[in-house]
């Protein structure tokens, strides 16, 4: 079972009105013809908070800005505007020399454990490397730290794995090694970018259980996923993104069982269910998500929305509590709900 959302846990990360844009090269010809400089509006005003002991899932389709959001929070990308607070301190403009100390406390694990581990490094070296880079601990202390991290990541008994190479490990074990390498630094938050999508179904749950367990030990986890079933099952809160915005956010149970935004409703209706008897009518949206270079005016979802009215072309809706929401923390950006 997922642990209940610790709504009163201490806020570790707070993001306010985050904006990230990528310029598009217009090429020499474009410059000569004075074509306007275009930008990809990857993240357009995203705000959320991540608390200690909580797992927040950022869900959405590819191109919605979920990965850009997470990478900007870690300052792997530069925000155009907005504020990122880490334990209350604004880190959005922190110079890079001061980021190293910060990064000890914010770690990320990537989607593909086949790519993210160095094939020439034994498990021991991979997991120890962050400590060496940060110049932490004596050799003996580092060894203890490595064993502890492997154990926390579910590689038990840890000494069995120390001398293995990645090719001697299964996909699930590799992802656990990646998790262990992020844990040796005792981070406060862990960003997990599609942590199980490359793994076989039979081992996914084990890796997710490790993340769930770490959350229980007080870590704040920001999980990025396109898989709503995984988010529904493991996250405390879900934020649904569409074209660079959070369009709905709330406790996972509320978002899944009482979705308010028409995009969330459509998305949930097309998630395949395990039970063949639950073949409900999928509400398939036609076309694909518009290109984030030209964001529709008004509500960005209105061209595909089954509930759109003329006002939706004019009003860019803000997140607020819908009338039918039962939790005070459940918000959606739609003028129709």
């Amino acid at each position: 079972m997922t642990t209940p959302a610790t709504a009163n846990g201490e806020v570790i990360v707070e993001v306010e009105n985050l904006v990230v844009r990528y310029p598009i090269s217009r090429g020499i010809l474009g410059a000569l013809r004075r074509r306007p400089r275009l930008q990809v509006h990857a993240v357009e005003g995203v705000s959320f908070a991540l608390r200690r002991g909580e797992m927040l899932a950022l869900v959405g389709e590819s191109g919605c800005g979920k990965t850009t959001t997470a990478q900007t929070v870690l300052r792997l990308l530069e925000p155009d505007s907005g504020v990122i607070r880490f334990h209350g301190e604004d880190i959005s403009r922190l110079p890079s020399r001061r980021l190293r100390a910060l990064r000890r406390r914010m770690q990320i694990i990537y989607q593909d454990p086949y790519e993210s581990l160095d094939p020439r490094f034994r498990v021991r070296a991979t997991v120890e490397e962050p400590l060496v880079i940060h110049g932490l601990g004596s050799k003996e202390e580092r060894r203890t730290e490595v064993l502890r991290a492997l154990e926390q990541a579910g590689l038990d008994p840890p000494d069995l794995f120390l001398d293995r190479y990645p090719h001697q490990l299964s996909g699930g074990q590799r992802q656990r090694v990646a998790i262990a390498a992020s844990l040796v630094l005792h981070p406060d938050i862990l960003v997990a970018d599609e942590p199980v999508s490359m793994l076989d179904v039979s081992v996914r749950a084990g890796v997710l259980a490790i993340l769930s367990d770490l959350r229980g030990r007080g870590l704040g986890i920001l999980m990025i996923t396109h898989d709503l079933s995984t988010a529904a099952r493991f996250a405390d809160r879900i934020a649904v993104m569409y074209l660079g915005r959070i369009v709905e956010e709330g406790p996972a149970h509320d978002v899944v069982h009482n979705p308010q935004h028409p995009y969330t409703r459509a998305l949930l209706s097309v998630v395949p269910k395990r039970d063949p008897r639950q073949r409900e009518n999928p509400q398939i949206l036609r076309g694909e998500t518009p290109n984030p270079v030209h964001i529709p005016r008004g509500c960005r979802f209105h061209p595909r929305c089954p509930m759109a009215i003329p006002a939706c072309e004019e009003t860019d809706p803000a997140l607020r509590r819908p009338a039918a929401a039962t939790s005070p923390e459940h918000v959606a950006a739609c003028i129709r709900v």
Binding site: S62, V201, L228, P282
Partner: protein, 321 residues
């Protein structure tokens, strides 16, 4: 329409070793039916359908029978496989949407198999390409566009159109929605369903994704270590699984509305480059008992149309132990 019996595939490995990837599987698919072939990576599902197409690499050898409308495709190797390939049995490969030639138009690439198989030529072929695009939900005038002008979902539709170019009766689709977003996945699954309903196409959907099969297919086979562990209607597989692997695989899959614990299956599948004794799933099974490590379970019919390879269903074994 398609009947596979006792299909085996071996790969010859360097050093004289041999990998027995598909170890005797049987299934059949009727016209208009949607059949799922489910399993984890390495279970032999892709190898099996490549064998049906006669598209295995040269180091592979095949045995068994593949009847297409009553004719054995495997009887004389390439000689008997080639006339059926694309004309009667076609395949959408995994990642097909990314396999288009970037410097040729979509239309040219759909026309190519038609010309190769003397289905149509020139203008007539191009007209047919337009029709095919319309069938898969792409406006016909896009026939002269290039792959980069299509979105991922449209390229996947175009890949399906290309497989349909020679009006096959059986379509094999290998992980056709794996790289797609959930909304585009729904669109593609809707398309595959309508092709079976409207044209009587027999569909074999190969995937690791149980919920996709549960929603789209009527029947499915769950494969493990090169064999069929269980085969039946998707309803029975979910509501009354008779092989522990099927039950555990469903239990390892998170469900949007399910609230029971999601648990992974400990251990890993066996290596297939050596002989297997007993039930291949026994080391990971939560119900394994005395005969499992040594005696290979028989595929038994547990109810009409529902078969499973587990000693728990075998009265003879249960009585003896």
């Amino acid at each position: 329409m398609l009947a596979v019996s006792d299909l085996h595939v071996w790969f010859e490995l360097p050093g004289g070793r041999e990998l027995h990837a598909v170890r005797g599987i049987d299934f059949s698919v009727a016209a208009g039916e949607r059949f799922g072939l489910v399993g984890e990576s390495g279970c032999g599902k892709t190898t099996a359908i490549l064998a049906l197409m006669g598209l295995l690499p040269p180091n592979a050898s095949v045995a068994g029978q593949v009847l297409l409308d009553g004719e054995n495709v495997l009887a004389r190797g390439e000689e008997s496989a080639a006339p059926h390939r694309w004309r009667e049995i076609a395949m959408v490969f995994q990642g097909a949407m990314n396999a288009f030639n970037p410097v040729r138009t979509i239309g040219d690439q759909i026309v190519e198999p038609m010309e190769l198989h003397d289905i149509a030529e020139g203008r007539a072929a191009l007209r047919r390409a337009r029709e095919l695009l319309e069938i898969v939900g792409i406006p016909g005038d896009r026939v002269s566009r290039y792959p980069h002008e299509f979105s991922g979902g449209m390229r996947q539709r175009a890949a399906i159109a290309m497989a349909l170019a020679c009006t096959p009766k059986v379509l094999l689709a290998d992980e056709p929605t794996t790289a797609l977003d959930v909304m585009v996945q729904a669109q593609i699954l809707e398309l595959l369903t309508s092709l079976t309903n409207d044209f009587g196409l027999a569909l074999v959907l190969v995937t690791h994704d149980l919920p996709v099969v549960a929603q789209v297919c009527e029947r499915a086979a769950v494969m493990y270590a090169g064999r069929v562990a269980e085969l039946g209607s998707v309803d029975r597989l979910f509501h009354d699984p008779r092989h522990p692997y099927t039950r555990l695989l469903f239990a390892a899959t998170p469900d949007l509305y399910g609230d029971e614990a999601v648990a992974s299956i400990p251990g890993a599948p066996p290596r297939l480059d050596r002989a297997l004794a007993g039930c291949p799933f026994a080391p990971r099974c939560d119900r394994a008992f005395s005969p499992c490590p040594t005696v290979t379970p028989r595929l038994l019919e547990v109810e009409p149309g529902h078969i499973a390879a587990c000693h728990l269903n075998d009265p003879a074994v249960m009585a003896a132990s």
